[in-house]
């Protein structure tokens, strides 16, 4: 769930920024330790996810003669119970995690934004119905939403993306509805309506650009949580099916060998932790980087 940071973000940046500002944002991110670790760490993981499989080819599925070998120069993270190179599998697993995290947040965000803007702008019974449905969905602990989805669709990466996307929809919808409610009272919306702009154009062409920035930040903070949830589903056997690797599934497979070969559990798990950590650092540093004025504001108890 989006917790507190999203709330703080909602009241934060709301100005439109040209694409050229991206570099400036990156520079501001890099100027602080947490932001720098988040930015460069994420860039590194994305690079590995894209380039890694190209370098290693299909090695992630290639079985070798030495099962459960410890780390060595040949196999930096050792081999698994079928003699497959753990590093290769971890690299592919990182890619799977990133695809799921980004995919689920984009799909969940899209549905959440559309229904949220609609509910906030139209109001009345449309709002009541839409928001009640999302409220009801929030009554399901996220793992159980995913379990229900997996029961319906079966296991697999695509279905995990759908499941995690559904989990993310209500939070986006609530956030967007709240900002739409605040925005639709403003003069520019009245002006647009007066000159005859239709409701769909007002919602997507006028209101959305003005509330978008904090929603993108919310998306960035939702991604690491999405990856963690997906990894838990992989661990439970509801995600990527063997022999294709995923980080959660590798940790699950390593359980049997915990006693004698603990490193097998250590590598995929610690890579997952670092991946989620750098993504969260990036997400929590974004609001300050997007809106430099926020930095100087400090809450003082005195």
């Amino acid at each position: 769930m989006l917790g507190g940071p999203a709330g703080a973000i909602a009241s934060g940046a709301s100005s439109r920024r040209p694409a050229a500002g991206l570099l400036a944002i990156a520079a501001r991110l890099a100027s602080r330790p947490a932001g720098a670790v988040g930015l460069f760490g994420t860039a590194l993981f994305v690079l590995v996810a894209i380039v890694g499989p190209l370098l290693f080819g299909d090695q992630a599925l290639t079985m070798g003669n030495t099962a459960l070998a410890g780390p060595s120069a040949q196999h930096l993270m050792g081999t698994d119970e079928f003699g497959r190179d753990v590093l290769n599998r971890v690299v592919v697993g990182v890619r799977v995690s990133l695809v799921i995290g980004v995919g689920a947040v984009i799909i969940g965000g899209l549905v959440g934004v559309l229904t949220g803007v609609l509910a906030g702008y139209v109001g009345g019974w449309v709002e009541a119905v839409v928001m009640r449905v999302w409220d009801a969905l929030l009554a399901f602990p996220s793992i159980f939403v995913a379990i229900g989805t997996a029961a319906l669709l079966g296991a697999g990466v695509r279905n995990i993306i759908v499941a995690v996307a559904i989990v993310n929809m209500p939070t986006f919808a609530r956030l967007v509805r709240a900002s739409t409610l605040a925005e639709k009272k403003k003069e520019y919306v009245d002006a647009a309506r007066t000159v005859g702009v239709g409701p769909v154009e007002i919602m997507l062409g006028e209101i959305w650009p003005n509330i978008a920035a904090p929603i993108f930040v919310a998306g960035a903070t939702a991604a690491p949580a999405a990856i963690l949830l997906a990894a838990a589903l992989d661990f439970l056997g509801l995600g990527e099916q063997p022999p294709a690797p995923s980080l959660g599934q590798m940790v699950s497979a390593s359980r049997q060998f915990l006693q004698n070969d603990p490193w097998y559990a250590l590598f995929p798990g610690s890579v997952l932790v670092v991946l989620v950590l750098v993504l969260s650092l990036l997400g929590t540093s974004l609001p300050d980087a997007l809106n430099p004025a926020r930095r100087t504001v400090r809450r003082s108890p005195k």
Binding site: G3, G4, R132, V133, D135, A136, L137, A139, F140, P141, S142, I143, F144, I147, G148, T149, A150, A151, L152, P224, L228, A231, A232, F235, L236, G237, L238, G248, V251, S252, S254, R255, L258, Q259, P262, A265, G269, L272, V273, V276, L277, S280, L281, T284, R298, R299, S300, P301, K302
Partner: protein, 314 residues
Amino acid sequence: MFRLLLRRAVDLMVVLVLASIFVFGVIRLVPGDPAAVIAGPNAPVETLQVIRKNLGLDQPLPVQYLIWLKGVLHGDLGTSYLAGQSVMGEIAQRFPVTVELAIGGMLVATVIGVALGLLAGTHQDSPIDVVVSGFNTFWLSVPTFWSGLLFLLVFALLLRVLPVGGSVALTDDPVGSLIHMILPSVTLGLAIAPEIAWFVRNGVLDVMGQDYVRTARSKGLPAALVIRRHVIRNAMLPLLTVIGIQTGKVLGGAVVVESIFSLPGIGGLVLNAIQERDYPTVQGVILFVVVVFVVVNFLTDLAYMWADPRVSVG
């Protein structure tokens, strides 16, 4: 107070009805004929028709929903395809383990979360605050299935001070039962603690900015006493609500933690049911969990109203 209570109760009913429609709908959307699953392959058409009639599957969907809902309201969640046992019976058998784990996890989370939150809030922007915030960010990034495994490795396999897994009924051997719950509770609790710590810290900062705290200070009360008597008491109130909200995370996290430590709770029940396509059980467990979550939230709301009269006045 009464009107607010009534409004909350109506909200709760609406959410529960919608949630029950979701749960009902999801299972009915599953491809395949439940009658065929029960009768097994190669069953004659007549048998299938009899089963369909018995299950009410020949009725229109809204009627099927109402029949199902009537059963649910009488505590009948249907019959497991596999065990042939009532789903409610299976849940009743396994839920105590999950409850024990959930309470243990919540206790660990609350103790750690409150302690860290108070520390960070009363030492804003000091190194303590930074360390606590680092702790929070780190533990929010660690999946329970991995931290649990590491705890297992260190405390059960290397140090051999705690059991590897499994559970003992609280009624058979209270001490043994609690010892079996230490690692699972800590694993679950550490995943929840950061959010509680974050919440308590912000609550403390909010209260410290209030007029009555300034008054207490300016009349010369020592800082420690101000914090103990005014800040902590007021910052703790919203904690009830947070604990209510975290119940969902605890119940969801329990599924994963039960899997790591081989605890026979409802997590194993529902995962096994998915594997075996035992839809009544999947449906029953999910609905049961949602009801528990919603009711716990309602109760914490009530407790909050009782503890803080301002809520019901405003």
